[in-house]
């Protein structure tokens, strides 16, 4: 395993095994993310990417293994505690509160935060469309705006590790570009990020390192260049 040199490890997942009931989804999965790194977790759907993220935030409790943040063990803690420790998940379905307005969605993130992250002005600067939609209810905005809102919610809190689950999924190409640019901004701001993406080009453009997962096991760890250069690797694990 390539150690993340020159950077301290921020998030370490060691040999976790997660189940849905009896169904063994993650088998001895191990990852490491260094401070300030953007790491991509790649793989087809149904192979355990989302389960990995859920296992980190306590949404799914792994049966064995450990998850540490800056050395602090997170395994066994509940979702609220892990979120307050600084791990923010932007889920695949975005999960905007549809009964609240955009402004209220943002406000809620500020209210529940242990410590503040970005200021509201900074958020409006980076996500100008949200400012135009403040009074709209959560279900009255477009898919792209929902994604922006979901990411903005996370950034309003003091984030140590940002987990993004398929941020470009289901979005039109132009909106995908916008989201990609936001992710680059986040990277530039030095926020440690674990990015789950099926959109390979998007992921490789922004990742420092990549992992590939298939049928619940980590099959590859390396650089984006290595993934770009290995057609057989892509064929085996990323497409058909």
């Amino acid at each position: 395993m390539i150690a993340s040199t020159a950077r301290e490890t921020r998030l370490r997942i060691a040999a976790i095994n997660s189940y849905y009931g009896d169904s063994h989804i993650l088998r001895d999965v191990s990852l490491e993310i260094g401070a300030g790194e953007t790491v991509a977790l790649l793989g087809r759907n149904g192979v355990g990417k989302t389960t990995t993220l859920k296992s980190i935030v306590g949404w799914v409790r792994p049966r064995t293994g450990s998850v540490t943040l800056d050395g602090r063990e997170l395994m066994g803690c509940d979702m609220m505690t892990i979120a307050r420790a600084g791990v923010a998940l932007v889920p695949e379905e975005r999960r905007i509160f549809t009964n609240l307005t955009v402004a209220e969605n943002l406000k809620l993130a500020q209210v529940t935060a242990r410590a503040p992250g970005w200021t509201l002005d900074h958020v409006y600067e980076k996500f100008p469309r949200l400012r135009e939609r403040l009074t709209h209810k959560g279900d009255e905005i477009s898919g792209g705006e929902k994604q922006m809102l979901a990411i903005a919610r996370a950034l309003l809190q003091d984030v140590k590790v940002l987990l993004l689950d398929e941020p470009t999924e289901g979005l039109a190409p132009l909106v995908v570009r916008e989201v990609e640019s936001v992710i680059r901004e986040i990277k530039a701001a030095g926020i440690t990020t674990l990015l789950v993406e099926q959109n390979l080009y998007s992921a490789l453009a922004v990742a420092d390192r990549c992992y590939i997962i298939d049928q619940g096991e980590i099959k590859f760890e390396g650089t984006p260049e290595q993934v770009r250069g290995d057609e057989e690797l892509r064929r085996r694990y990323l497409h058909v």
Partner: protein, 638 residues
């Protein structure tokens, strides 16, 4: 056909004899217990009359338990049948036969009326679940209460009906007066034999009859299915049972028995009051049954006896007796884990259920011959077994599936794959009938089945195995398969309340065959909940198989399995596809490429490509879809 290694060698006849003996033993024990009951009651402050009241009331409690413990239905309105039965009996005696009050007629009439009432109310209420069902039964009971209170000409309103003529029981040439007591014999501390009226003997006989009936009912074919529906309704519906009809039948039977109890009580007391229709009365049945214990046959009797005895003894001594009753009730619910409420509380209510089920259409299809011979290769007949045209499903504004044109041939093994947002599971659910399409059609063997319910489709030959194994966890592997086979053999509903399903040999044959095909014979008698994950998944497939499908839909059959189990299961699936059409959703590409005849790729809700594994591999559009819309060339260039 292999038999399980530890199957009993005796035949059906022996089993019938054995169960007859067991039933007789039960009746004998019950008779002895009830014979001793009043004498046991006497020294501790009870009296014979109380004993009679307890027995009659417990009939209603047993009926309530049929609903709550066995059918899983919490009814807060049983008083409408209890009081209803009482009022009907009283009115019959007062108006129809004041000169010759006949107990048979009064009680029979009351039971009949409450049975009809229960079926009418049930037809409307059994479509709902949980809190909605409880509230609706409560609503109906309240309606009945207030109507009876207002219909003063018939019912005397709040004052109730008094002076009901003492009904005689015609047996042969005699008219038995039940208020007559046994010969007076002093039994010391156990009271006087003469305190026991013939009423007590009638009540005891009635209770034993009801207990025996309920016992037979639970073990019957009907009872087996009712229990299965309570244990896993989702599975039961998708195996071919009609849950609403079974619920309705249970509600009707319970209502009739409750009416019987109410009628007996009115005749015994000689009066009937509006209180017998009240919420409090309905609540009492809940308390009696829960305290006694849900889900064992005689425990409602025990609960009724306990509470009524305490009421009787304590009401003289302290005004707090009802409080004590309430505390006992809460304590039982909170503290008695297994045994009493364990089963109740463990039953996880699944995703919010549909409150309305589609009405069952009459079956027009001829049933297939029971054991089809193995068919090698393709069958003659229409080329496609299932075909969809412009099939679509909208959830709100979201089009999970749209414009799907799909067809598959008999005995083909077709894999359905696709990247995120493909709509694969929605597609399967449309084919299986768990959801209805919002556009387009589905043709099965040339017939349009788009509006046919999932339950019906199973009987037509379309069976589905679930992504998360949906089993009857408290039953053995064999019983799980037998239930599915039973649905196949008997149809969606059969009112076989006295006969057991073991008399149906076809059921056993189908079940054995299904277990064999999935290599589960070794664990045939293991409780499904205790199986390993791989075995559970295979059992789920076996259950679908036991319904004798012609097309089998498998949703991620090897998900979560180890490599070895996955390979083994693949092989079993491959063998199945020689006899029937198999559609598989899978993410394990090694498996998909290895065993499929053809592959359909779904993407963003519609079909992207169909072809052999090699064709799909070579298809650039498919690769693009998986990479989020980027091609190999873009990589080379990047």
């Amino acid at each position: 056909m292999t038999t399980a290694p530890n199957a009993a060698p005796e035949g059906a006849a022996f089993e019938r004899r054995a169960s007859l003996v067991a039933d007789l033993r039960f009746v004998l024990l019950a008779a002895l217990a009830l014979a001793a009951f009043p004498f046991v009651l006497h020294p501790i402050g009870g009296y014979a009359g109380l004993a009679t009241q307890i027995l009659i009331t417990s009939i209603a409690a047993v009926a309530f338990n049929l609903l709550l413990g066995y059918a899983g239905m919490l009814s807060y309105g049983q008083a409408m049948f209890y009081g209803g039965g009482g009022y009907v009996a009283a009115i019959l005696l007062l108006r129809a036969m004041p000169q010759h009050p006949n107990l048979w007629l009064a009680v029979l009439g009351a039971t009949l009326v409450t049975a009809i009432m229960a079926l009418l109310v049930g037809a409307v209420t059994v479509r709902l679940y949980g809190i909605y069902f409880a509230l609706l039964t409560l609503a109906f009971a309240q309606m009945v209460f207030f109507i009876v209170e207002q219909a003063k000409d018939w019912t005397n309103g709040d004052d109730g009906l008094q002076s009901i003529p003492n009904a005689l029981l015609p047996i042969g040439p005699w008219n038995v007066d039940l208020t007559v007591g046994l010969p007076p014999v002093d039994l010391g501390p156990f009271g006087n034999l003469g305190d026991i009226k013939l009423w007590y003997i009638l009540a005891a006989i009635a209770l034993i009859a009801v207990l025996l009936f309920t016992r037979l009912l639970i073990r019957s074919q009907f009872g087996e299915v009712l229990t299965a529906i309570r244990e896993n309704e989702e599975r039961s519906v998708m195996v071919g049972f009609s849950a609403p009809l079974y619920r309705l039948a249970a509600f009707g039977i319970a209502g009739a028995l409750t009416g019987l109890a109410g009628a007996l009580r009115a005749c015994y007391d000689g009066t009937v009051a509006v209180e017998s229709l009240s919420i409090e009365r309905s609540g009492q049945f809940v308390v009696y049954t829960v305290v006694g214990g849900v889900q064992t046959l005689v425990s409602p009797v025990v609960g009724t006896a306990l509470i009524m005895y305490l009421e009787n003894v304590l009401s003289g001594k302290t005004p707090a007796w009802r409080l004590i009753e309430g505390i006992i009730f809460v304590a039982v619910i909170v503290f008695l884990p297994r045994g009493v409420l364990g089963t109740l509380l463990n039953q996880r209510e699944k995703n919010p259920r549909s409150i309305f089920r589609r009405a069952l259409r009459p079956r027009t299809e001829e049933p297939e011959p029971l054991l089809r011979p193995n068919v090698e290769g393709r069958r003659a007949g229409p080329l496609s077994i299932i075909e969809t045209s412009k099939l679509g499903k909208l959830f709100g504004h979201f089009a999970a599936n749209h414009d799907i044109d799909f067809q598959v041939d008999p005995a083909e093994l077709r894999a359905v794959i696709g990247p995120n947002g493909a709509g694969k599971t929605t597609f399967f659910n449309l084919l299986a009938g768990t959801i209805a399409p919002t556009s387009g059609t589905i043709n099965y063997k040339g017939r349009d089945v788009s509006r046919v319910s999932g339950t019906e489709r199973v009987h037509l030959g379309i069976a589905k195995a679930f992504q998360t194994a949906s089993l009857y966890p408290d039953q053995t592997v064999r019983q799980n398969c037998r239930l599915a086979a039973l649905a196949r053999v008997q149809g969606p509903f059969a009112l076989q309340v006295l006969r057991r399903s073991t008399r149906l040999d076809d059921v056993d044959a189908l079940a054995e065959r299904a277990m064999d095909r999935l290599e589960l014979a070794a664990v045939a008698d293991v409780r499904a909940g205790d199986l390993s994950h791989g075995d559970k998944k295979r059992l789920d497939i076996a259950i679908a198989l036991a319904t004798q499908p012609q097309i089998l839909l498998l949703d991620e059959p090897v998900a979560g399995m180890s490599k070895d189990e996955a390979r083994k299961t693949e092989g079993l699936i491959r063998r199945l596809s020689t006899e029937m059409t198999v559609l598989v959703i899978e993410h394990d590409m090694e498996m998909v490429m290895g065993i499929s005849d053809t592959i359909t790729v779904l993407h963003q809700g519609t079909v992207l490509a169909t072809g052999t594994p090699a064709e799909i591999r070579a298809n650039a559009t498919v690769q693009e879809a998986y990479l989020g819309g980027h091609t190999e060339e873009e990589f080379a260039g990047a």
